[in-house]
Every structure is written in structure tokens, then in C-alpha cells.
Amino acid sequence: MTQLQARGLVKSYGPTPALRGITVDIGEGEIVAVTAPSGCGKSTLLHCLAGILRPDAGEVSWRGHRLDTWSEAARSRLRRTEFGVLFQFGQLVAELTAAENVALPLLLAGTGRRAARTAALTWLDRLGVADCADVRPGEMSGGQQQRCATARALVTEPRVLFADEPTGALDTLAGEQVLTQLVRLAREQHTSVVLVTHEPRIAAYADREVVLRDGVIDHTGLGLDAPLAGGSR
């Protein structure tokens, strides 16, 4: 089943257009890379799909229901229960330990403290950072922080994970370890992933690639289903 569907998305920041009519579907359990040179609207597209930003025109549907017209409170609830978000810099809460950070989304969703901690420890273990459970972010390496952030993004077992340059701040090996685990766990629980990246080797982890250029989908880009050159659909 199609999880997310965007139709004709347009979004501008003042006079600067970021998206100029984007149509894309994200299937259940599908891992889709969104690639583009810097400043070509890929983060804007991710934010619109995740219901963080409202498009100026066009529609975003979540399992057949339009979400761009929902209230901020309703979209926020959807993000807490069905979506996971992972950014370039893990954005862990500095004052909390890794386990507390990972438990946070569950606590916000009403899970009891003990159950939330148990789930957090399980996810830290799955990401290979069980040792960091009682450590604060400042005492962890970048790779460990990003694995904790991945655990936090997956702990609610979301239907869709939005990952915006999730390995951008890591060295090659650490980035690869984060991504390998992220992809493996997403596949195990049929979580769809929208993976924003500007690196071909990161996009290669996805099932499919959507290439943006100047706010539109570039049909001559890297997508395997794209026609050769100068084609249009």
C-alpha cells in the first residue's frame, strides 16, 4: 500500500522557489533516496512529506488521507506516532543519557517509564550501542550519537522514517555502520524510509532514487526508471 503520496508540491521561501511541482509516492517498506545538489529542495520535500512544512500548493496524503490540511496539532500527533525523524546531527538532548533520549518518544506517546526504558535498551542494543545507555551525548563519539538518534527514531516502530543526511557528519566507516543497521532494521519491521542525501554511495542503499534539480524531479538523473536524456514524463 502507498504510505505517502505527494501531488504537485510547490513551496517557496519568499521569492525563492524550492519545490516547483513534485509528485512522488512512497510505498510500504520502500526505501527511497531523494538526491540533489545542495539547495535543490530535498530537505524541503522531506519536511513537506513529514507534515512539518505545509506546501503552498499541491497535496500530501498519508495512507489515502490528505494531511497537509490538518491542524498543526494533528500533524504533530501523526509525527509522534507514525513517523520517525533522523537529522544530520543526531540532535539528542544533551542533559539526558542515551537511554533517556531513546525512551523520550515513547514517554511522550504515553508509554510507562519502565516499559519505555526496556524498549530503549533493546533498541540501543540493536544499534550496537548498549554500552552507551547511561552515557550523555557529550561523552559519545559522533557515530555513537547518531546510532542513539537512529534508535530514538525507530523506537516507536514508525511506519515511515525520514532521514535527512543521516551520515553527513560522520566519517565513511561510522556512516556506513549507521546506515547498514538503519536499513536492516527498517527492512525487518517494514518501515518505509525517505533518505535525503547528496552522496551517490549513500543513495545506493535505497531501493529507488528520486533526483531533484531546481525544484523539480530530474528525469535525466540517476533514477533507474528514468529515460536516457532530455526525456520528459
Binding site: R184, P200, R201, A203, A204, L224, A226, A229
Partner: protein, 178 residues
């Protein structure tokens, strides 16, 4: 690739028959271009002629050629020297990709060059995805991962070059025909 040095290295782990060398090669370098038996025997012949390996004589009991080979002192010295020497880092800028774009710009137009770059980029991307799947498979060994990493890094470098060249190809065409 230096097949003679590779065979010397494999023989440094112990005496082997030609077919054992071939098997050892295939298991250590799983993603490499296949090494033909003929090439193994031809290389062993040259190494023996140069005194780098010695044969322990055919056992006439079984098989067409059961000669076993051993590394000589001289062979070990040659191997050590090779291991200690640094390979020249890309002494010539040579690549079929690069050459093809140059020729396309010479004999055709910028669209022809661009079409080639786009098609090559797609082929590279497909191979990148294949190798990424290979190295992330639960069954992947460290041999697989290291071999895939090498190819992925090179494909990635090529892809960066293909991207930037696509952006420069119009300027390049003007320069070639000015």
C-alpha cells in the same frame, strides 16, 4: 594487477599445485577478474625460469599435471621488495570514460557527449547499488566487504567526475572547437 607477485604471495603460505593456487586466488579475491588455469601455469613457468619458484617434480600417479611449486629464497626477496614498494599514484590520467567524452566532443556534439555521460552515470549507479547490496548482505564476509569497498570508492569517484563533467561539458565543447 600483478599476477606474478600475487602467486609468489600465495606460495609464501606453503607449497601448492597449480590448481590449488587458482583456488586460493579465487577465495582471497572473490570479486576479481577470473584467473584462468592457463595463466596460472604460464606465470609459474616464467617464475620458475627466473628462479623465483622451484617445482618439486610431477607426481605421475594422478592428474595431468600434479607439479607442486615452492617459493625460493630469491622469490621471497622479490616478494618482500614488492610489498615494500609504493605503487605510483596514477602517473597517467587515463580512463576509458574520459577518453570517450573527449572523442565524442571531437567527432560529434555536446548532446552526444552528454547522452553518453548520463548513460554511463546510470550504469555506474546500478553497479554501485549491486555492490552495496553485496556488502550489506547478512552473509557477506570481510573479504566481500573489503573488495566491494574498493570498487564502491572508485565508482563513487567516477560518479563525482561524471556529475561535474556534465556541468562542464558545454564549456569544454566550446574550448575544443575554438
Amino acid at each position: 594487477m600483478s599476477t606474478p607477485h600475487l602467486l609468489l604471495g600465495l606460495l609464501a603460505t606453503g607449497t601448492m599445485h597449480g590448481y590449488e593456487l587458482k583456488r586460493a586466488h579465487d577465495s582471497r579475491l572473490p570479486q576479481a577478474r577470473p584467473l584462468a588455469f592457463g595463466q596460472v601455469y604460464a606465470t609459474l613457468g616464467r617464475l620458475q625460469r627466473d628462479g623465483l619458484v622451484a617445482s618439486t617434480g610431477p607426481e605421475r600417479l594422478a592428474g595431468p599435471d600434479r607439479t607442486a611449486y615452492t617459493l625460493t629464497e630469491q622469490g621471497r626477496a622479490t616478494l618482500d621488495q614488492w610489498l615494500s614498494s609504493v605503487e605510483p599514484p596514477m602517473p597517467y590520467v587515463n580512463s576509458p570514460l574520459f577518453t570517450k567524452v573527449v572523442v565524442a566532443l571531437l567527432v560529434a556534439d555536446v548532446d552526444r557527449a552528454r547522452a553518453y555521460l548520463v548513460a554511463q552515470r546510470r550504469a555506474h549507479t546500478e553497479r554501485l547499488r549491486e555492490l552495496t547490496a553485496l556488502k550489506t548482505a547478512p552473509s557477506a564476509t570481510v573479504d566481500d566487504v573489503v573488495a566491494a569497498d574498493y570498487a564502491i570508492a572508485h565508482l563513487d569517484a567516477d560518479l563525482r567526475w561524471l556529475h561535474t563533467t556534465l556541468d562542464r561539458v558545454a564549456d569544454w565543447h566550446r574550448e575544443v572547437h575554438s
